[in-house]
Amino acid sequence: MSIIIKSTSDIKSSDITSKSVYMDRRRFMQQAFASSLLLAADAMLPVWAKRWPDPAQAPFRADDKLTSFEDITSYNNFYELGTSKTDPVKNAAAFNPRPWSIAVEGECDKPGVFDLEDFIKPYALQEYIYRLRCVEGWSMVIPWVGFSLAEMLKTFEPNSKAKYVEFTTLLDKSRFPGQSRRVLNWPYVEGLRIDEAMNPLPIMAVGLYGDILPNQNGAPIRLVVPWKYGFKSIKSIVKIRFSETRPKTTWNELAPDEYGFYANVNPEVDHPRWSQKTERRIGDAFWKPKQKTAMFNGYGEQVAQLYTGMDLTKNF
């Protein structure tokens, strides 16, 4: 059974309380997301409903136990919202991720500036359960909602000079209080080699746990590259640029001997100040020992071939 809904305004508030209508709307929401406005959708959902309560499942699903929503959203490295890990959740309300537009520039045939909704529209949203390993030695397992980075990049038709993709976070002190102190060289910039970007694993995430991405997790849209340290997975993206030369990425420029451009998860190559052999899985009891870190964060089967012949000790 399915009800036909012509526009969001057709839904009467009385429908919201009806379970059967809600069940149908759940399905409707999944299909409609790609074509409806995020804000309009927000207004019509009952407060307790998730935006994508039952998202389609991507083939990449880590078997690990999921990290709790609370931990994922209260322990963040997002210096634009403060440098301590508990700052982002405290300052999240101050950051309004609407309106939002994304510029696509550089070595491609279809550049442009897009409103967020138009930007996301063409792609199928799926749930991807990925391990996230921070360079600091902790890790989480996160059910993202997003779409394939490769699929997205292809729509802009990168040309043969596009050797790298560069991503930039919003620069706006009034929305990102952390940017009023020059802790990092704002705006935050990250990048991938084009073949890394075209791998099926990386995604652009717009949600987690079936709901819209919380501000402290990089709303409204962020990158997720599961075999690299977390700092590569840049948040709150406003610009994507195809380039012939390697992007100057923020942490790599700040301390090149500590944070490489590649930043592949690698237990064999220590950070100069700490070992990368083990990681603390967030949510584990404090008395439990840390667990062993896996090469490429356990995604070697999908990505090891990208680095054949490269000395990963030098290209860390």
Partner: protein, 212 residues
């Protein structure tokens, strides 16, 4: 000048300060039991114990200037306790590291101490605190005489190493260690200034009396 009797210090102030000094630990334990230390309780333990070690070191160094400037001679009676609390929190900090950060992986611990400058410096500071803690009693003061004073000058070195340890472990935001560094610099400058200034007879008398 606020005069407080020996008895008040011994029976009221000392127990009160003692309990106050245990508060950070109590809050930590309550947080652990109730699981309210956030997503990474081990990191919270390391940070809380590390920060209180450094704070107690600086508070200990503040006692003498405060006593001289505020002319509160009885303050000196708290210095030993505060210094021992610095050692107490340093020990908790070190245990947290060995147990919950490294899980008794001795090879990795030795490697850290040798190879990672911030750990080398933190460990040196901790090791230097041990003789100070062991000699913080009347018997050792009497036995070591002038050497006791010399030995306990190590606290300046320890505090400098503590700040250096903090600077070297920071990833990008140096505000916190900068604040501790400035406070330490002020304390060190005061001490240097005091040493250059010839002691007035009045001060000499007060010193003699308080150390007897």
């Amino acid at each position: 000048m606020l005069v407080i009797s020996d008895k008040t210090v011994r029976l009221v102030l000392k127990p009160a300060v003692f309990i106050a000094c245990l508060l950070p630990l109590m809050l930590l334990v309550v947080g652990l039991i109730n699981d309210t230390l956030g997503a990474n309780p081990v990191e919270a333990m390391t940070h809380v114990t590390g920060e209180w070690t450094l704070r107690f070191l600086l508070i200990t160094l503040l006692v003498t200037p405060a006593r001289q400037i505020l002319k509160l001679t009885w303050l000196i009676k708290f210095r030993r306790m505060l210094g021992l609390f610095a050692f107490f929190y340093a020990t908790l900090h070190f245990i947290t590291y060995i147990w919950f950060e490294q899980y008794f992986d001795w090879a990795e611990i030795v490697k850290d101490i040798i190879e990672r400058p911030y750990i080398t410096v933190g460990f040196s500071a901790f090791v230097m605190l041990i003789p100070l803690a062991l000699t913080s009693n009347k018997m050792m003061i009497r036995r070591l005489k002038k050497n006791w004073v010399k030995l306990h000058k190590l606290i300046y070195v320890i505090a400098v190493l503590g700040v250096l340890h903090f600077i070297w472990l920071v990833k990008a935001d140096y505000l916190q260690p900068f604040i501790y560094g400035v406070i330490l610099l002020v304390l060190l400058s005061y001490r240097a200034y005091q040493q250059r200034k010839p002691a007035t007879p009045a001060e000499g008398r007060r010193c003699r009396r308080s150390s007897s």
